[in-house]
Every structure is written in C-alpha cells, then in structure tokens.
Amino acid sequence: MKDPTTPELISALMDGELPQDQARFALRRLAADPDAAALLARWHIARSVLKRERFVVPTAGFADAVMRVVFNEARPRSARPAWIKPVAGAAIAAGVALVALLAVVPPPSSAPDGVVVGPAVPALAAPTGLTTGDFRPRLAPRPVSSTTLSPLPPGQADIERYFLAHSGQATGFARGGFVPYVNIVATPVQPEPAVVPAEGGSR
C-alpha cells in the first residue's frame, strides 16, 4: 500500500477515517513535522470558521489528557460496543485538531480549569444608535419662517378630532376612499404661521 501523502494523511485524520493504530502513527509523524502540524492547524481553523464554530485554544497539558481519553489504552477492545468506533474516530479528529493548534497558537495564560476560550468568531456588528429616520432623504430643507410660530395650542386631542371627523366625511366625495386619511396618518398636527389675508376677513 502506498504511503499516503501528508495532505492525504491530515485529511483522513480530520475526518476520523483512520483506525486507531494508524491514527496514533500519524500523530507521531505530525508531531515530528512542524510543517505538517501547521497545515493541519490551518485546515482545522478554516473549517471552524466556515462552520462558524468557536474553537478552543487549550493549554499544553489538556492535549495529553485528551489523547489518553481518546485512545483509551486501558480498555479491552472486546468490551467496546460497535458505536464506539465512529465516535472514537471523531474524538481522534478533535484531539488531532487540538494538538495541531498547540503547535501554531501559543496557549494564553490558563484559567484554573486548564482551558481558556480563545477569540470568538466575529459576530454581527453591534447595533448602532442610527434609526431609519437618519436615512430618510431630506429632499429639500423646510424654510425657516421669519415670523414666530404660534405654540401648539392646548387641547390637541380636540384639534386632532376635527381633522379626523373631516377625513371621515371627505371619503364620500370624488377624492374619497383612502385619500382623506393620508394626512391623518402621515403627519401630526403642526402649528403654522397665520396667513395675512389680501383683503379683509370676508368677501
């Protein structure tokens, strides 16, 4: 059988396709080959990013502990149930990834439990204080009146009621239907400067 190339070996390790003894041999080979270990780490990081997974940067002792659990050398083969093999394969892949990361990412100062959570996968940008109103186009500036606007009159609800009642009546004429409601819904009541009549107050 032809010896697998390093990329083929790493790929099989990451996918958990190697039997235990071959996986052990592969790990020893990776441990002796920094370039191969670095390649494994890059592939593992790339896969984690694509899957948007958080990856853990373990301390040095953690990898050894994982290896002992994964290989489980003290447990007789005959006692293992059939489903252990794929699970063990996946665990080996995880352990391999951890070992590789150790080789390229120096572990930060560890917490008492021996594991420190590394930088999180970039999340969505935090919400800003901008609102939709900031993006509404100001097509033309409203001219500032040279006269003083009258303050909003008291009893605004009563004034709103005049507009509302009128809209209810106006729906029954030629420009009816929904049209008279538009001003009611679109804008609140606003003060306006008085218009100086051109001639008296009445005809």
């Binding site: 100001r138 005049y162 509302l164 009128h166 209810g168 929904f178 218009v195």
Partner: protein, 302 residues
C-alpha cells in the same frame, strides 16, 4: 365610377365613426371617484411631502354597514387609522382619538355622476400615460381656475379606474405632495357597489338648507353645502364641496380650542372665536382659503 367609390370611402371612415370615442378627462375622474368608493383594495404607497418620504399600508373592505378601512404608517412614529362603518379611530403616539361620522354621511359615497360644479372651476385634461405599481394608468390633470383651491394630477388605472398615484399642485404649479402606490391589489365588490352606491350629480341633490342663524360668506366659487349635522345637534358640522375638494366648518358653543392656523400635511385648519362660539375650518385647501372661510363665519341677524 363615382358610385363605386362611395362604398370604399364608407369602408375607410367606418372604423373611425364606429369606434368608441376616447374617454374624456372628466369621465376618467368620475371612474376614479367610483372606484375609490366601491373597490376593495390592499396596498402600500409612498407619500412625498415637506421634503420627506413616508410609506403607508392601506386596506379597504366593504361590508353591509359600510367600509372597513385601515391605514398604517410604515415609517416614523407608529400611527394607525381604522374605520368601521361610521366609526373612526386614530391611534398615535400621543394617544387614541375616536369620532363617529354617523348622521353626516360619508357612506354610501356620493359619487358625482358628472362632476357637477367641478367642471366650471377646474380645467380637466389627459396629459399622458404611465405605469405605476405594475398597472397601466392614464394621467389626468385638473387645474383650478383660481387660487382658492389646489390642482390635482391623478394616475388612474385603466381597467378599474382606481387611483394609483396623485399629486397636489399649488397655484405656482409646485407639487404640495405626491402619492404613489408601490404595491396594490384590488377586487371589485360588486354586491356592495350595487346595494350601496348612490351615484348622483351633486348639484341635483335636494338642496341642503343652510344652518339657521349662521352665514359663511367667503366660500370659494362652486362650493355648496353637501352635508350637515342634525339640526338638534349642539355642535354644527357643515361640509362644503366643489366636487373635488371639500371643507368642514365646525361651529360649537364654548371657548376656542384652536386660535389661528394649524395643519396636517396638506390639510389646513383655522380656529376663531365668534360671538361666544368656536369656529374651526378644516380642509385640503390652501391655508389662506381655510383662514378666510373661518373668519367669514357670522351670526345671521335674522
């Protein structure tokens, strides 16, 4: 030879003679008025006014008691209007306002069969065709003969007559506001239309008696009284219309709640105190017209 030519000439001109005449601009506006009063529709439209854009959603269903309308502002503050029969309810950030329009009309709609007096005070013209919200529309312009009222441009959907876009135009031919549907679905409510619509010429209605004791002197030409609150009502609500625009005049005893002008988009209001009564005029007319009408209200000395 001459006898043989005549049939050919008739054949050539017959299509033009027999073809239905293109609808007039007034007829298009009448179709629009009928569609607004009888169709069920649901859609989203944008409104450009005061240099801003607003988006709104509207739904109209017609039932036995009248229309059920709902309009919601999709931008800015949450504002919503709901109408069920004669009951109107507006929800705003400031609170809820409710009125009942029963007794004054509004339903069934008074759809003018011939635009009545509007013909004398507006010049109607078809100015083109455009496509709005996926619908082919005829563009009709109605420009006033005076500065007392706004002009209009209507985009009228070809098949149903539904208003799919509109523009309010001031005396300087500037757009006061523009509305355009971006999404619209319609359904003709035939049963309700047949049962409820009273198409009538506004000027052929039984004339409505002016309210006793009051005279309104400065109404623009062509505005006639089209609706009035019951005579025993303490507060009088009078509605005048020229066929396209309308104005309400409220006359109520008591201290004034509004003194001077106010507006809501292109709708203006003016409040005055006259002989112990508060007078308020409201309508989609120029501010100067609304103010003049309010200040012209007088007690009838008779």
């Amino acid at each position: 030879m001459r006898g043989m030519a005549l049939p050919w000439v008739l054949l050539l001109v017959a299509p033009a003679v027999l073809a239905e005449p293109a609808p007039s601009a007034e007829a298009e506006v009448e179709r629009m008025a009928r569609a607004l009063g009888t169709l069920e529709y649901s859609g989203v439209f944008v409104l450009a006014h005061d240099g801003r854009l607003e988006a709104m959603q509207v739904t109209r269903r017609i039932g036995a008691v009248g229309p059920h309308d709902r309009m919601i502002a999709l931008t800015g503050d949450r504002r919503e209007l709901e109408r069920s029969g004669s009951a109107l309810r507006c929800t705003t950030p400031e609170g809820v306002i409710a009125v009942d329009a029963e007794g004054l009309g509004g339903w069934p709609p008074k759809i003018p069969a011939g635009l009545g007096r509007a013909r004398a005070h507006y010049q109607f013209k078809i100015i083109g065709a455009e496509r709005i919200a996926g619908y082919d529309a005829t563009v009709v312009e109605a420009l006033p003969q005076d500065a007392d009222r706004y002009g209009y441009r209507f985009w009228i959907e070809r098949n149903t007559g539904m208003l799919v876009g509109s523009m309010l135009i001031d005396a300087a031919r500037r757009a006061v506001n523009q509305m355009m549907f971006t999404q619209l679905s319609m359904r003709e409510q035939v049963a309700a239309a047949e049962a409820a619509v009273r198409a009538q010429e506004l000027d052929q209605q039984q004339p409505i008696a002016a309210p006793e004791g009051w005279v309104i002197g400065a109404l623009p030409a062509g505005f006639n009284l089209v609706a009035i609150s019951p005579a025993d009502a303490r507060a009088r609500h009078l509605v005048y219309s020229d066929g396209l625009a309308s104005v309400s005049v409220y006359i109520e005893p008591g201290e004034p709640l509004l003194l001077g002008p106010a507006r809501r988009g292109s709708s203006h209001a003016y409040g005055a105190a006259i002989d112990g009564y508060r007078v308020v005029t409201v309508g989609e007319l120029p501010a100067a017209t609304i103010q003049r009408i309010a200040l012209s209200v007088r007690r009838n000395p008779e």
